[in-house]
């Protein structure tokens, strides 16, 4: 559409890209306020650590877009690491096979979650909460509660290597983000995910297979979590059954801060990427400023709640008062369907 940017369009751009703007602002603040912030070492550290969360956030975005949630990501990361470590160290399998096994395990459990969410009435947060326990339990079981070290140099390099000074895992993540962006904006299935989240009923009436879309996003989240697990395992050079705790909280936060709505239908890859980086940057700033890790948890928790609250308030702003769809007013069409206020 060739139109001169009207104030409304600028405002809309700002609204859609708030998280990117916020990221730039916070980053700039960091550069100015903290001495070692902008140096290569620090930035790499952020990139290494948060490319893992980044993969989780991409998976979480998919699930949140359908008005679901995945609370099992952290436990799945741990499980993936145990599977990989066990396959390499105890079963003696070649590393690529082990990696495949780990990702497969995570994808499978994600698929199971998706089955339950799409085929039963059990709410998503309960399904994935249960899966959190199941995955954690399996990880503890297979490893008998103890970490398993991996003696593969090449594998260890995966999580620590750089390509032209840029962490490989960051490049990998951004590539994945680009792919996902393409999927969500150019492919039918991707657009249908937005439709399901926007209004599952209307989507169904337009011929969208709502159940399978819901199944798909959880499987995809499982897959992406598996990849995150591979990177994590590589960095630790071992499988740990007790790691990854609360990772899903960070991924949810990143999605919400990036503009995603917990009520479905709204959110972008770009925003999510910005959200992940925002948390990475803030995390780094808190560390460099010498704030105790315990206070950091509090600050991050407050940020998450604030982001969610803001997103809810923004939602209320955008309500179009629909005179027709009033709840329970005199209606010839029988009992009023609950109207959707955006």
């Amino acid at each position: 559409m060739n139109r001169n940017p009207s104030p409304a369009r600028v405002r809309r751009w700002m609204g859609r890209n708030t998280s990117t703007v916020a990221l730039v602002v916070i980053f700039a603040f960091g550069c100015v306020a903290l001495p070692n912030f902008a140096d290569k070492f620090n930035l790499s550290a952020i990139a290494f650590q948060y490319s893992i969360i980044g993969f989780l956030a991409l998976g979480q975005l998919l699930v949140i877009l359908t008005e679901g949630i995945d609370l099992s990501q952290g436990s799945l990361v741990a499980l993936t690491s145990i599977v990989i470590a066990t396959l390499i160290t105890h079963a003696g399998l070649p590393t690529p096979v082990a990696i495949l096994g780990g990702v497969l395990a995570s994808t499978l459990l994600g698929f199971l979650s998706g089955l339950l969410v799409s085929r039963t009435q059990i709410p998503a947060f309960i399904v994935t909460l249960g899966m959190l326990g199941i995955a954690r339990g399996l990880a503890l079981l297979i490893s008998i509660g103890k970490p398993i070290s991996i003696a593969d140099e090449v594998f260890a390099d995966l999580g620590r290597s750089k390509v032209w000074e840029i962490p490989a895992s960051l490049i990998l993540w951004l590539l994945a983000a680009l792919l996902l962006h393409y999927f969500l904006t150019q492919r039918r299935l991707g657009r249908h995910i937005y439709a399901v989240g926007g209004s599952a009923e209307s989507a169904r009436l337009s011929g969208v297979n709502v159940r399978n879309i819901k199944l798909l996003v959880y499987a995809m989240s499982g897959f992406l979590t598996g990849i995150a697990g591979v990177l994590w395992t590589s960095r630790l050079s071992s499988g740990s059954p007790i790691g990854g705790v609360n990772y899903e909280l960070e991924s949810i936060a990143a999605v919400v801060v990036g503009g995603g709505s917990l009520f479905g239908g709204i959110g972008t890859v770009g925003g999510t990427v910005a959200g992940v980086l925002i948390f990475g940057v803030i995390n780094s700033m808190l560390n460099l400023a010498g704030i105790s890790p315990y206070w950091q948890g509090t600050i991050k928790g407050v940020l998450i709640l604030a982001a969610v609250a803001l997103s809810q308030l923004r939602r209320a702003d955008r309500t179009n008062v629909r005179g027709v769809a009033r709840h329970a007013s005199d209606s010839t069409a029988g009992p009023a369907k609950p109207s959707r206020n955006i």
Binding site: M1, Y182, Q186, R187, R188, R191, H192, Y194, A195, G197, G198, S199, E201, S202, A203, L205, S206, G207, V208, G265, I266, R318, N320, V321, R322, G323, V324, A325, R326, A328, S329, D330, S331, T332, A333, G334, P335, A336, K337, S339, R340, I342
Partner: protein, 499 residues
């Protein structure tokens, strides 16, 4: 227009739970005509269109579409084969823009399998331009005005190569200009040979846009006419005109004033409503869909905002910010849909009947259980609840008995003013009589009853006075003892009161 009808209905019958809703309805729809369907609330209009679109299954009769008799119609099939219905609850995805909504499920693809966005935008724009819609196709549909959303829905139906387009009360929230635009669109649809079935109670619109009109009454087809062969008065007569054998209310003498409303307003919904209610009277409120009756009721119990005007209770001005406040002031409401707003269906009869009286009588959270149980036991008896079991979950009761439970809740709480919104909807004949009996008893006990009803018989027989609402205003008041159906309907339709 003289060709074979694109859609033919013959002898359509439909009943719900033994209650006939459509009786032997036959209708022909021709391509390129605008066929209007009129009738009071409950005449069977929406049931008919749901049968056409496949949402309901007919009990008897035949449907012939494009010369082929149809068996069972699946909604998906109907939609894909040219029968499109646009309901009041518009089935679009609010977070997606118009272009995407129009192509949803039918997206044009590129060679690589991705979505051909330029084609999506082109098609959408073409469809929107064809119907003359002035819609920004890049804005999320939820942010559009209702009229524009309607246009997008029409464009979407068009993109599905619609042959029959059914519009259910499309102009419910439209401004005059928006109505004009819709008519332009409809005329364009006509020019393309599309049959339009237009349901509305705006008689002016019907006479402007319609080619033929069909009147339904109580599930029967009364008549089908060319628009030029009928006038408004005759139309109204056809919509009513039943022989009602009933005993009318004696128009009881009202006692002192319990409630007075002055200039009540809710932006866009209710305008400048003033009336008063007295002890010992039943005031009926008539009107059609969207007239604002339920909204008014909700304002009186604090469940909807009051943007202007005042409420006086026993002469004193009162603010009613919530149903909790209303309860403490002695006002209660039996809602239009008891399952959605009136009952906690998983809980028992005793639980449901007790909620309001417990709220009213508990002190610091302490509940006088023995007293409450006694009150409920007595009520179960006097309401003749069947079965008379306080510990039965309400969901197992019949509609009539469920309604009695809701009534019992307010009776237990000893309200002075009871608002009943469709008190006998979905209630069998026996329970209906019992509910009327209860209303009379309330009257005898010097309570005030405000009864919203779409049942003409009910309004005429039970009310001492009748208020008629249309488009958010009170357009007339009639004495209960002598009002006629035509008077009520004429007022409700916004016409001059028939002499």
């Amino acid at each position: 227009m003289e060709q074979a009808p694109v859609l033919q209905l013959r002898g359509i019958c439909k009943s719900f739970a033994g209650v006939p809703v459509l009786r032997d309805v036959s209708l022909d729809l021709y391509g390129g005509e605008v066929h209007c369907l009129v009738g009071e609330n409950g005449a069977g209009k929406s049931t008919l269109i749901k049968i056409i679109s496949g949402a309901y299954t007919k009990d008897a009769g035949t449907i012939t579409y494009q010369g082929r008799e149809l068996g069972h119609i699946a909604p998906a099939w109907a939609r894909e084969n040219g029968i499109n219905t646009i309901y009041q609850e518009i089935d679009l995805i609010p977070s997606l823009d118009a272009a995407e909504n129009i192509s949803l499920g039918n997206e044009p693809r590129t060679r690589s399998g991705g979505i051909d966005w330029p084609a999506v935008r082109r098609n959408a724009q073409k469809n929107l331009d064809d119907i003359g819609a002035n819609v920004d196709a890049t804005v999320p549909v939820g942010q559009l005005k209702i009229a524009q959303q309607e246009m997008v829905a029409v464009a979407k139906a068009l993109s599905l190569k619609s042959k029959v387009m059914i519009l259910d009360e499309p102009t419910a929230a439209f401004t005059g200009t928006e109505v004009r635009n819709l008519f332009k669109t409809i005329r364009w649809l006509q020019s393309q040979g599309i049959a339009v079935l237009y349901i509305s109670h705006h008689l002016d619109e019907i006479f402007e846009i319609g080619d033929r009109v069909t009147v339904l009454r109580d599930g029967n087809l009364i008549r089908t006419e060319l628009i030029q062969n009928i006038d408004k008065a005759t139309l109204v007569k056809a919509m009513v005109g039943r022989d009602i054998d009933f005993t009318r209310s004696d128009g009881g003498a009202g006692g002192s004033e319990i409630l007075r409303a002055e200039g009540l307003t809710q932006r866009g919904v209710v305008s400048d409503v003033s009336f008063s209610l007295h002890e010992g009277e039943i005031v009926g409120v008539g009107g059609l869909v969207g007239a604002g009756r339920t909204d008014l009721a909700r304002m009186l119990v604090g469940a909807a905002p009051v943007h202007g005007g005042k409420i006086y209770l026993h002469g004193k001005p009162q603010r009613i910010p919530s149903p909790k406040a209303a309860l403490s002031l002695g006002i209660g409401m039996l809602p239009e849909d008891r399952k959605v707003e009136g009952l906690v269906t998983m809980r028992t009869v005793a639980d449901n009947m007790g909620y309001s009286v417990i709220q009213a009588s508990a002190r610091f959270g302490i509940v006088p259980w023995r007293k409450i149980k006694a009150v409920i036991r007595d009520l179960i008896g006097s309401l003749q609840l069947r079965p008379p079991r306080p510990n039965l979950q309400v969901r197992y009761l019949s509609g009539g008995n469920q309604q009695k439970v809701v009534l019992g809740k307010w009776l237990a709480a000893r309200c002075d003013l009871l608002i009943l919104d469709e008190p006998t909807r979905g209630v069998d004949v026996g329970a209906r009589a019992e509910i009327y009996h209860l209303m009379q008893e309330l009257k005898r006990n010097k309570k005030a009853v405000l009864m919203i009803s779409s049942d003409m018989t009910e309004i005429l027989t039970q009310s001492d006075r009748i208020l008629v609402m249309a488009a958010g205003r009170i357009v007339g008041e009639l004495p209960g003892a002598s009002a006629t159906e035509e008077q009520v309907l004429s007022l409700a339709l916004g016409l001059e009161e028939a002499a």
